[in-house]
């Protein structure tokens, strides 16, 4: 096993661990906003780590560039998707954990 394989293995396992944290968070947390925190951020970083590990292992350059593109795409789309859902969930009301205090957005309307 070459050093690149070891590094790649470490990256992949840590990325998968972060993804698992996202999965656990989606199950455990009390309301939809908290679940969004867990579902977008650790998995995004996890995907970046896994893709970086995969770049080290892939043979063809074209595959490595595709992985780099996926990393870029994930960074661009994940936060925007989370924000869109958060906004619509708040606007349609009712999914806010009563313990959310202060809720300045509801006050501002």
């Amino acid at each position: 096993m070459s050093p690149a394989d070891v590094v790649s293995g470490i990256l992949i396992v840590s990325g998968a661990l972060l993804g698992l944290v996202g999965g656990i968070g989606v199950l455990r947390l009390p309301d939809v906003f908290a679940r969004m925190h867990a579902a977008t951020k650790p998995p995004t970083l996890g995907l970046v780590l896994v893709a970086t590990g995969a770049i080290l292992r892939v043979d063809a350059i074209s595959d490595a560039t595709l992985l780099a593109l996926v990393i870029m795409l994930q960074f661009l789309t994940a936060p925007v998707g989370a924000h869109l859902i958060a906004r619509s969930a708040h606007a349609s009301g009712g999914q806010v954990d009563p313990a959310t205090d202060p809720d300045e957005l509801a006050e501002a309307d």
Partner: protein, 86 residues
């Protein structure tokens, strides 16, 4: 290397199972779309691990399309929730 990818696959499978549970439980549409988005992220992660295991990027184009379409779907459902309520 094989060990690492096996471990990663197991972790990803557990994660996918938890998203499926949330997908069924809900309670609102927003929860379900968050779970779906995470599921698609796991899908992309899984194909990256697969390409690391084989050294060949067999499913990478599929992965790119899944990522794009997943985001598109999330945005569309968000619009729907805004109009019709979750």
């Amino acid at each position: 290397m094989i060990v690492a990818t096996n471990v990663a696959f197991v972790l990803i499978c557990v994660g996918v199972l938890s998203t499926l549970v949330r997908l069924v439980i809900g309670p609102s549409l927003a929860d379900r779309i968050v779970a779906t988005d995470l599921f698609l992220t796991f899908l992309v992660m899984g194909s990256a691990v697969l390409s690391a295991r084989d050294g060949r990027g067999t499913y990478l184009e599929v992965m790119l399309v899944v990522a794009v379409v997943g985001f598109l779907g999330t945005a569309i459902v968000a619009r729907f929730i805004e109009r019709r309520g979750a």
